[in-house]
Symmetry: C2
Subunit: 392 residues, 2 copies
């Protein structure tokens, strides 16, 4: 029986749409000794992790915890708990993840109204107010940080409009959390989900979620059982709540990693963390502009942590990506769906959002573009980024 | 904003029903540098991991991979893919996990016939043949290693009876895999699922699964979409298959851990690994017998890796468990459901199945029982275990 060849992953600089560069403290946390899922230490850790997640989400929601799956499991957990067969639901679609939410909601038996905007654009309050008035949905789902397009959707006024229409709002904060303010309580968000592998700089594998009282009431007053046993929030509430009733065996070491990741953000301070994301985004954007590269998302609505940028005409985009990886160990993302072959997705997320990465990427990209015969002043992109940092 | 207190998990010896003692190489693998989920290295790792899992399951099934969730997500993945609303399904229930499978199948819309046996007993072929003839199920679900009772269910003859009735068989191998033979191809098992935190000695977080061609045909010929987007096997087949179509972001570092865990087993050799589990089980059983402690499961059908044993009369079982943890750092499991307060569950799983752990547990248990005034020869349990090892 042949054993497997040794595990020797290459060292990458992860500047794609996630997983992001993992903080070394988080990697070390993964390797700490495993304890049982009902060990007194682990139960205490769950409490503290919940406290930390509440701080990230800026909420006092009791039901704030980590789903034992990736961000997509978080999406599914939110949808299948809040939606029952036949419920009218509005989903806002301007990229891959809104489309995914439609699919998830339809599989849960929802009557889905799909509100669309072109890729890279964001939704205006009025169009959501209109569709909510017409459909009278139970739930409106929207993506705050569309990882496929780099569009930064303002949430607060939309939450207000959704509530005025009597519906609940579910917000995808997978890429947003830890990179830009996510104000669950101040904005009155009924349910949110996120992932670990974006601005938390933790490997993929858990999905932080939060449900407010109204959402939990909807769960408690369901007519049908939640279709997923694994994601049933009422059962998960008994495990994550004070009862600690065994449900499933939690991913212990992934929890260690998330705990450490959350702690690192709280040590820096959330506002400082947001400011750092913004600064590095502006430096990158200035550097890319010097290379003739522009953001794909609507001006004024561009995410700091996920820069979807248009590939310049005449450039072999796949070759640039593969050479960044092969020659520099840098991963950036390709376009998905409508943006396939047209954009690169450059993540500056969490620990990855730092000048060293901005300079490295600009220098490498400049060299590769020059090799493909693009005309520009060598060194200008790094210089442009430097000016942003110096002006801070 | 208060940061979280430092992460300092205590060092435990995990001899409960899982998570089991994690091999140090597996913990180290968790902390290796994260790469992207579409990185050429990761795609190659997925291929090799699938090969390794095929060896563990003793199958050539193309659809052999790891679900991005814990063992219960593996159960749900198997059920929701194979079952459509209204499908007749038989589930064999002689403990917690059979009962869980009923719940999962009912949530998937199955018409579930629940075949019951008392806790600790196993099913006979005839009773399954009879119920299959009466119900004409699409699927029969059964647990091979019932972690709540320690019962070791023979699978091969049941698989044959199920197939004669025209149904598919789904086998829960969560605790079995890596500890006793799981012969997916030789026994003709249509679908199996497992977990990482039992005999693979890997932290919880992934669920190895395997579907044969017949099961995948059932998935392909479904009338309704699979209710779970996250667990949809046809979409997962495109990611784990040669297309590598992005579905969700795989838990990269958990995959490293599983890869290393599988490799360790293949290096030892599966048969040697089973023999080691058996030997340590016999040593433990002999030692426990010297303490007057007997297995709870039916004689002749006792699992080697999970020893559910009856708490002697007059012993404060919770006190013993808490003192094992507090004074010796040893975790053993409490009874669940019908066995609550009546049994201890002692796991000797994977890396945990070794003489050092057997001796440690016997010595500690003997001391604590003596402190509670139990009469027996001090040292007899360790001596009895030693005789088993010496006679090998």
């Amino acid at each position: 029986m042949p054993a497997l060849s040794p595990l020797n992953p290459p060292i990458r600089t992860l500047l794609g749409p996630g997983p992001s560069d993992i903080h070394p403290r988080v990697l070390a946390a993964m390797a700490r000794p495993t304890v049982g899922h009902l060990d007194p230490y682990y139960l205490q850790l769950m409490d503290r992790l919940q406290d930390g997640l509440r701080q990230l989400f800026r909420t006092t929601n009791r039901m704030t915890f980590a789903v034992s799956g990736t961000g997509s499991a978080g999406m599914e957990a939110a949808v299948v708990n809040l939606v029952e067969p036949g419920d009218p639901v509005v989903v806002c679609v301007n990229g891959v993840f809104g489309a995914r939410m439609c699919d998830v909601a339809e599989r849960a038996g929802a009557k889905v109204t799909r509100l669309e905007r072109p890729w890279g654009e964001v939704f205006a309050v009025d169009e959501i107010r209109n569709v909510a008035a017409a459909v009278k949905p139970k739930l409106v789902g929207i993506v705050m940080a569309e990882t496929s397009t780099g569009a930064y959707q303002p949430i607060e006024p939309i939450a207000q409009a959704v509530h005025e229409a009597g519906a609940m709002i579910l917000v995808d904060t997978v890429t947003a959390l830890g990179g830009v303010p996510v104000e669950v309580d101040a904005w009155g968000l009924d349910a949110v989900y996120s992932g670990t592998q974006k601005c938390l700089s933790c490997p993929p594998g858990l999905a932080p979620v939060s449900f407010n009282e109204r959402a939990m009431d909807a769960v408690k007053n369901r007519k049908h059982k939640v279709q997923s046993w694994y994601l049933d929030a009422s059962m998960l509430a008994s495990y994550w709540g004070s009862d600690r009733v065994y449900h499933h065996t939690a991913p212990i070491n992934m929890s260690y990693a998330l705990y450490e990741a959350v702690s690192i953000i709280l040590e820096e301070g959330l506002d400082a963390c947001f400011a750092r994301h913004d600064l590095n985004h502006r430096a990158l954007k200035a550097g890319l502009a010097a290379l003739g590269i522009q953001c794909a998302a609507q001006e004024g609505f561009q995410l700091p942590m996920l820069n979807a940028v248009r590939v310049p005409a005449g450039v072999d985009e796949a070759k640039i990506r593969s050479e960044l990886l092969a020659r520099f160990g840098i991963e950036i993302g390709a376009g998905l769906g409508a943006f396939k072959g047209k954009v690169w997705r450059i993540g500056l997320m969490g620990y990855g959002a730092r000048p060293a990465n901005v300079y490295l990427l600009l220098a490498a990209l400049e060299q590769l573009l020059a090799e493909q015969g693009r005309p520009f002043d060598r060194g200008a992109s790094v210089a442009a980024a430097g000016e942003v940092y110096s002006a801070k």
